[in-house]
């Protein structure tokens, strides 16, 4: 009976958040170029992309989980674990070197599986379980490393993908492009991607449509863990070795990048293009604030204010009545 009230005021629209995010990127570049013409130089932009690539890989996994309407707070120590385990494998001779990268990723995958099973089958809120799993991962790494940054260094392959460039193009950027292309493919062309969006929108409807919702949730968390660990592998390659709490600085930017890119924190809505925009935006914002020699405190404040302002522009919930 009340049906006629139903058609939602869904504006037929361009993807607003993505447009705004890219608009802000351009604005940042313009503001930056007023300071120094270097801002528009290819070298600077590539450098930013390289820095952004690490965040980009990590945010890709985070996006999958957020699209489900969940969150992964175990990312920090999954990153660290990926980095440390890959470096540790490197220390085991030539075979270790070969398997360093897959081994690091595998460790992250296991962490993600643990999260996924707890969320999908035990239905523990992801906020808590991933927090606890983060503590466990930290505990494992502390126990392994003795509380110090391990002396093992990254394998040549890790350094190759994390730190080196070909023809001026950083390999990390290429890695992000590949990961991103796979993510776009996964989200738009596969049944898995459709299921992720469906579950994020209405899990009950997805379940009644005969989609294996629990398996999809486990898989998404596993991917998130694997990508976080891969991000850690890249970072270790970039820095030459793993470090304690190297992942801590990536949790909030990863969530912020995904949300700024227009992905709803409640799940079900968002595009990878938006996440790319969010990652670049955050990387650029951090870089410009530091180039402008604004003190760290100012950077933090501006950073927070801009995120809130952008979210108020397009990230609001529907009004209760």
């Amino acid at each position: 009976m009340t049906d006629n009230a139903a058609p939602l005021p869904l504006r037929q629209r361009l993807d607003w958040p993505v447009v705004i995010a890219f608009g802000c990127i351009i604005l940042l570049l313009v503001v930056g170029s007023l300071y120094s013409t270097n801002f528009l130089s290819p070298e600077y932009l590539l450098q930013q992309l390289k820095v952004g690539a690490f965040l980009g890989v990590i945010a890709t996994g985070m996006m999958l989980v957020i699209l489900l309407g969940q969150i992964d707070l175990s990312v920090p120590w999954t990153i660290t674990m990926g980095a440390m385990m890959a470096s540790a494998a490197t220390a085991y001779g030539p075979m270790g070197e070969v398997f360093a990268i897959p081994f690091g990723i595998l460790c992250g995958l296991m962490i993600g599986l643990l999260n996924g099973v707890a969320v999908a089958y035990l239905r523990i809120p992801s906020m808590i379980i991933t927090l606890a799993v983060n503590a466990v991962a930290q505990g494992l790494m502390v126990a392994y490393s003795g509380g110090f940054s391990p002396r093992d260094s990254a394998s040549p392959a890790m350094k190759f993908i994390g730190a080196q460039s070909t023809l001026g193009i950083p390999h990390a950027v290429i890695v992000w492009i590949i990961v991103g292309a796979l993510a776009v493919f996964l989200l738009t062309r596969t049944t898995f991607g459709r299921a992720v969006y469906g579950i994020g929108n209405k899990e009950s409807a997805a379940y009644l449509s005969g989609v294996p919702t629990q398996r999809v949730v486990v898989a998404a968390f596993a991917l998130c863990g694997a990508l976080a660990a891969f991000g850690g592998v890249l970072l270790a390659g970039y820095a030459g070795k793993a470090a304690q709490s190297m992942g801590d600085a990536y949790l909030l930017p990863a969530i912020a990048a995904v949300v700024l890119g227009g992905t709803s924190i409640l799940g079900g809505r968002g595009s990878y293009l938006g996440t790319i925009a969010g990652v670049i935006l955050i990387t650029l914002l951090q870089s410009i604030l530091s180039v402008m020699q604004i003190a760290e405190f100012g950077r933090q404040i501006i950073y927070g204010v801009i995120i809130i302002a952008m979210l108020l522009l397009y990230g609001r919930d529907k009004k209760l009545r």
Binding site: A135, L208, I255, E296, G304, L312, R316
Partner: protein
């Protein structure tokens, strides 16, 4: 008799946290080197209690702060930063000569008192900002508080780029707040008790306090019953800021300095969530209370202490702590096996 049953039922989470804490603390006490070597002397027990209390009150206050927001079915990821920001503010304003630079020295009694009020107002302001963004800006609490915590951290860093304190810091007040009464009773626990009795219990019994629970339990039913939903939510965030500020103040008493320490902020935020969960506060809102959260916080810290006195290899302590946390949060999921309509799983 049956009255007790209802009371027990309502307080189950709190009582469980209390029981776990008491049991663990007893084991801790019995194995503490000071007790093992010298027996139960007043001084020995008093010292152990004091040390534990002065560590415990920090997380207890932050856990109370987190409780308010969690009761509304929200989450506050900025409590740790408000805590740190208030610590930094306190390191400037809780001084014996407040106002001296501007020519009105308030002196060693009034000065620190006004300073304390300023610190708490800063906490309240931070909470109000969070509340306004969540309620009137209609942003999800988790994202909103992630963003505001960056702002709070920036402010803290602005004031204290380097750790430190003003030389006039009111050390006497700090010392008093961390002392022990009659050689045994830790002042900080007395203080905590006063706070709970004077602030939490009246709030719990006020109309808005009840509305907070109602909103967290079922926002739709609360709306249909005509309860003041928005005011109740806003107030919860304000209280949260107040208690985080109180925590910051206490941190200043402990360290006698201010430090814009983002790592500490993160740790306290995460531990506060663990503490409220252990304390029987439901993350889905509407269930639990500050008293449970306090015991949750104390129990959480005792895990660490216990591992210390039981000679667990320090390297394995974080792992063990994590595993205990993991098991604790998994226990509640047993109810799932009773769900008979699978659609109910999706809420």
């Amino acid at each position: 008799m049956s009255e007790w049953r209802f009371w027990f039922n309502a307080q189950r989470g709190t009582l469980l946290a209390l029981a776990i804490f008491v049991a663990m603390f007893a084991i801790y006490l019995l194995n503490h080197p000071a007790i093992v070597n010298n027996g139960f002397t007043v001084q020995g027990v008093g010292n152990v209690l004091q040390t534990a209390a002065n560590k415990g009150i920090l997380l207890a206050l932050i856990a109370i702060a987190q409780t308010f927001v969690v009761l509304t079915a929200g989450i506050d990821l900025s409590v740790g930063m408000i805590f740190v920001l208030c610590n930094v503010v306190a390191s400037y304003v809780v001084v014996n000569n407040l106002g001296a630079p501007w020519g009105f020295d308030l002196g060693p009694v009034l000065g620190p008192a006004v300073g304390v009020v300023i610190v708490l107002l800063v906490g309240i302001a931070c909470g109000a900002v969070n509340g306004a963004i969540v309620i009137f800006g209609r942003l999800q609490p988790i994202v909103a508080t992630i963003a505001t915590s960056a702002v709070f951290f920036g402010l803290a860093l602005w004031m204290r780029p380097q750790p430190g304190a003003t030389p006039e810091f009111a050390k006497a007040l700090g010392k008093f707040m961390l002392s022990k009464f009659g050689g045994v009773v830790p002042a900080s626990m007395v203080f905590l008790l006063i706070i709970v009795v004077l602030l939490w219990i009246p709030y719990r019994r006020s109309v808005l306090g009840r509305a907070t629970y109602a909103v967290g339990s079922s926002e739709a039913a609360a709306y249909m019953s005509g309860m003041p939903i928005r005011r109740a939510k806003f107030l919860a965030y304000v209280w949260s800021g107040f208690f985080a500020g109180l925590g910051g103040l206490y941190l200043t008493f402990v360290t006698s300095s201010g430090q814009a320490d983002s790592a500490a902020a993160g740790t306290y935020t995460l531990n506060s969530i663990a503490a409220v969960v252990l304390g029987g506060v439901s993350l889905f809102g509407g269930r639990g209370g500050a008293i449970g959260a306090v015991f949750g916080a104390l129990a959480f810290l005792t895990i660490k202490d216990l591992m210390f006195v039981l000679n667990v290899d320090p390297l394995y302590q974080p792992l063990l702590q994590g595993v205990i946390l993991l098991l604790a949060v998994s226990i509640g999921s047993a109810r799932l096996f009773q769900v008979r309509n699978r659609l109910e799983l999706f809420g």
